[in-house]
């Protein structure tokens, strides 16, 4: 397949013009006809007609006036495609109705996440932040070249031209030209070195409610997910993995499996035994019939309860310092009033709606991958290593991901490597193979949010002012033993273990935050909002306990400690104001709680209102959310991400837990790994702080404060604190 990358990789300062044939192939980078003409692989992908103007790696304009924006980030629900397109289209002054998005190929040179350095990937709520200037310039330079082309055509000065919705105007001569008519001329002009970017006051798309580019296809069933990939001769594989992490295949008997109609082959791979069949149903039946004896010599056999016992003990032993300011131990020792508490957090599965899947077409000299790929160049490298190929021989087609919440971004590329290893064991003969995980595979599959134990102590002086804060965190490191470790782990501290705790914003004279990093055989990973998924709960639940001990209002107590943090204070005040905090306590059986957080430089405060009935059953009625994410690129998507983050976080604190018994995961599917459902979703109100600062992310930060806000609301309603997550099954009672 012809790829755009061949041409634009050339180190030329000149733009290029492509003929119709190549342009069609280019536009079909991932949208070619393997699933029928009605399928849509990326938002609104359709071949551009005729010649194309492609001044940089991020956009193409066709003679049909179409504007194709190339997204280096995966669209997994967070709205990245729409955000990326909005930034480009804004500086380009494009007609939004003619803008479409397609996914970029894996290419660290052109499509690196600038927040990550030299790798292409999506995570840490960085898509908008790292693309902002890059994409504004990409759009602005293209616009400048289209203007230069019009000026040249009409022999008028550039300064006399204006652009609106994809049309260049010359008022003096009453002439106008749509972008498509300028494509050929523009492509012959040099790319400007520099371009003036718009004054935010002139934004027409940014800050408005631009409609998402992916919604129509996600409403009529035509959006293309990996599950939907069909290639000629494609087979489907299911992998039988051990019940305990670290166990390996001792032996297997495939007699019954191969007797199933449709089963083609049963192969052993490093992670287990794969059944390859002509359909999912045949592969599933084959896997059910497969007999595997496991070698558990190196397996993790402990239960999660035993691990937590170990964590509790470690909290009292020496640990590494993640933050030291003043002398917290002395301040607490001398304090007039002391408060202490511990918080326990379980393993959590991501459980995206689309169970993990990948299609691999492996031959002797190439490997082609289709996936909702979140770590393109990492997956490319791991696939190459597994296949025994060079990285350049691996190409990746990034499709829509049916959710991820971090799961598809993993340093070991688990599901991609499995798929490649199965294709290799099958013979690397060019047969496309789709590896499909089931929901049980997903829940059992590891790479969980780590389990953590937090122990906190605070000291107040005789005026009930907070003088000392000591926070000990015990749990596994996400980055240890990955390629991130040498870059990210400094003096034994994995920043993802302590972010949100070591970075505590409250003005406290003496602070000590210590980390005790544990090791065990359960594979762990970042989970939406990463460290702040537990640290924010611990900090915001505990500061509430401290405020209560000080006899202070939880909002006022926080506000006083945030005088030097204007953005954090502003969201706190906005949420409190909109929630009607000043109205005072709620009626009996109801309670209001507040929490504030900073994650990935986005500030979020939430006020939760709960009802607790006589049986202790908790219903979260309303969550008021204030967010400051810098320049709001798309307010409706920001609102949607806050709503979604609240629902996601709420499900986790109320129900989420992966537990192990003798190393075996005790949950299987959505019956035992409960997530939030429609009838449990509160009313959500979102308020966005106006800003012209550079944008930060919204995919994750909305998750952080909801748990503690609800826990604090339950305390307000019942007088009971929550120290073990998830919340007790019967509610707060």
């Amino acid at each position: 397949m012809t790829r755009e990358s061949h041409a634009s990789r050339q180190p030329t300062r000149r733009t290029f013009l492509k003929r119709a044939g190549t342009a069609t192939a280019m536009a079909l980078t991932i949208g070619f006809d393997w699933a029928g003409p009605a399928r849509r692989a990326a938002a609104n992908v359709a071949p551009s007609a005729g010649a194309v103007f492609a001044p940089n790696a991020f956009l193409r304009i066709g003679i049909d006036d179409s504007v194709t924006v190339i997204a280096k980030h995966v669209e997994m629900g967070q709205g990245a495609y729409t955000g990326i397109a909005t930034i480009v289209a804004e500086e380009l002054d494009a007609d939004w109705s003619r803008v479409r998005v397609e996914s970029a190929p894996a290419d660290a040179k052109r499509y690196a996440n600038l927040a990550f350095g030299t790798m292409q990937g999506t995570g840490g709520s960085s898509a908008m932040a790292n693309s902002w200037t890059q994409l504004r310039e990409a759009g602005g330079k293209a616009r400048a070249m289209l203007l230069a082309a019009a000026a040249k055509n009409w022999k008028v000065p550039v300064v006399e031209l204006t652009v609106e919705k994809g049309i260049v105007y010359h008022a003096g001569s009453k002439r106008q030209a749509p972008f498509g008519s300028l494509v050929r001329m523009a492509a012959s002009l040099p790319v400007p070195e520099k371009v003036a970017l718009k004054d935010p006051r002139d934004f027409k798309l940014i800050g408005r409610q631009a409609s998402r580019v992916d919604v129509a296809a996600k409403v009529d069933g035509t959006a293309q997910f990996t599950l939907d990939v069909v290639l000629p001769g494609m087979l489907v594989a299911l992998l039988k993995r051990p019940a305990q992490f670290g166990a390996t295949v001792h032996s297997f008997d495939a007699t019954a499996a191969t007797a199933i109609s449709g089963v083609v082959k049963v192969v052993q791979v490093p992670r287990g035994v794969a059944v390859i069949a002509t359909s999912f149903w045949a592969a599933k039946q084959g896997r059910d019939a497969l007999r595997v004896e496991w070698d558990d010599t190196h397996a993790e056999k402990r239960s999660s309860a035993a691990l937590m016992d170990e964590y509790r003990q470690l909290a009292d032993r020496p640990a590494l310092s993640a933050r030291k300011q003043g002398d917290a131990a002395q301040a607490i020792h001398n304090a007039a009033h002391k408060v202490s508490a511990s918080y326990e957090f379980p393993f959590l599965a991501h459980a995206p709606m689309e169970p993990l899947d990948a299609v691999v077409k492996l031959s002797a000299d190439s490997c082609e991958i289709w996936a909702g790929d979140q770590f393109q160049t990492v997956d490319q490298r791991n696939a190459a290593t597994t296949a025994g190929l060079d990285r350049q021989q691996v190409s990746i087609h990034t499709l829509y991901a049916g959710g991820s919440f971090g799961r598809r971004a993993n340093p070991g590329s688990d599901y991609i490597v499995e798929a490649v290893s199965i294709a290799k064991a099958h013979g690397a003969d060019g047969t496309p193979i789709k590896l499909q995980w089931t929901r049980e595979d997903d829940i059992h599959g590891g790479l969980y949010r780590p389990m953590y134990y937090h122990k906190l102590e605070a000291g107040l002086n005789d005026k009930y002012e907070l003088t000392g804060w000591r926070h000990v965190i015990v749990g596994q490191s996400i980055m240890a033993d990955t390629f991130f470790a040498p870059i990210m782990i400094k003096e034994g501290i994995d920043p993802t273990s302590v972010e949100g705790a070591a970075t505590i914003a409250y003005a406290i004279p003496n602070i000590a935050v210590d980390l005790s990093t544990t090791k065990n055989g359960v594979p762990v990973l970042w989970w939406r909002v990463v460290g702040s998924s537990h640290t924010t709960f611990a900090v915001e639940a505990f500061i509430d306990e401290v405020a209560h001990a000080a006899g202070a209002d939880p909002f006022m107590f926080r506000r006083k400690l945030l005088e030097h943090e204007p953005r954090m204070k502003a969201v706190l005040e906005l949420a409190a104001e909109k929630a009607g905090w000043s109205k005072g306590p709620m009626p009996k059986g109801k309670g209001r709680g507040i929490a504030v957080s900073e994650a990935f430089k986005t500030y979020v405060a939430q006020v939760a209102e709960v009802s607790v009935d006589e049986t202790g059953h908790v219903k979260v009625d309303r969550v008021v959310c204030a967010v400051d994410c810098g320049t709001p690129i798309n307010p409706d998507i920001i609102t949607a991400q806050m709503e979604g983050g609240i629902g996601f976080g709420l499900g986790a604190v109320q129900y989420g837990a992966i537990t192990l018994k003798e190393g075996r995961v005790e949950q299987d599917n959505f019956n035992s790994y409960r997530v939030l459902r429609m009838n449990e979703m509160p009313k959500v109100e979102v308020y966005i702080v106006p800003s012209t600062l550079p944008p930060t992310g919204v995919g994750e930060p909305g998750v952080a404060p909801v748990g503690p806000a609800v826990a604090n609301a339950i305390f307000a309603a019942t007088g009971r604190r929550i120290h073990v997550l998830p919340f007790p099954k019967t509610g707060a009672a």
Partner: protein
């Protein structure tokens, strides 16, 4: 062994394992991929289709059970209620990752076809079997109310 039924208005005969769940028959045998696989145990609703007008979970419905009956998938939605639902979904920008939305649209359509003026409690009853991990629930609720309004106005 073959099974005959009406799929999206067309008489269809499939030569497939009668125990194969309808989900996989529709996806892999017929080639209609709009209906999604989420749990395989009727716990999440991503695979929702209409069977004789009722919303059912196709992941646990054996192909043999639909013999002689009417099946509609997201690809075959035609009714006025369905059009109102899909229009409201776009207007309120409901989807995020979008994977569960075929099932959500199918459940919402079946609800409106039976109950043109659903209350919040009715929506909870009809929609709580459809999980959305992106938690688009507030928008789904608002979109169902909006669809009900436009559906009634057009009826």
């Amino acid at each position: 062994m073959s099974t005959s039924f009406v799929l999206n208005g067309k008489p269809t005969t499939l030569d497939a394992d009668p125990n194969m769940p309808l989900l996989w028959a529709v996806r892999e045998v017929v080639g209609l991929p709009g209906t999604k696989f989420g749990c395989g145990m009727a716990l999440c609703g991503a695979c929702t289709v209409h069977l004789d007008g009722q919303a059912v979970r196709s992941c646990v419905m054996p192909l043999s059970a639909v013999a002689g009956r009417q099946v509609i998938t997201i690809e075959g939605l035609q009714s006025a209620a369905a059009k109102a639902v899909q229009a409201a979904w776009i207007k309120l920008q409901v989807p995020q990752c979008g994977y569960c939305q075929s099932g959500q649209v199918m459940s919402a359509t079946a609800l409106l076809e039976k109950n043109p003026s659903p209350t919040d409690a009715d929506i909870d009853g009809a929609m709580s079997g459809n999980i959305c991990r992106c938690a688009t629930y507030p928008r789904i609720r608002a979109a169902i109310h909006a669809a009900a309004q436009s559906f009634k106005a057009s009826a």
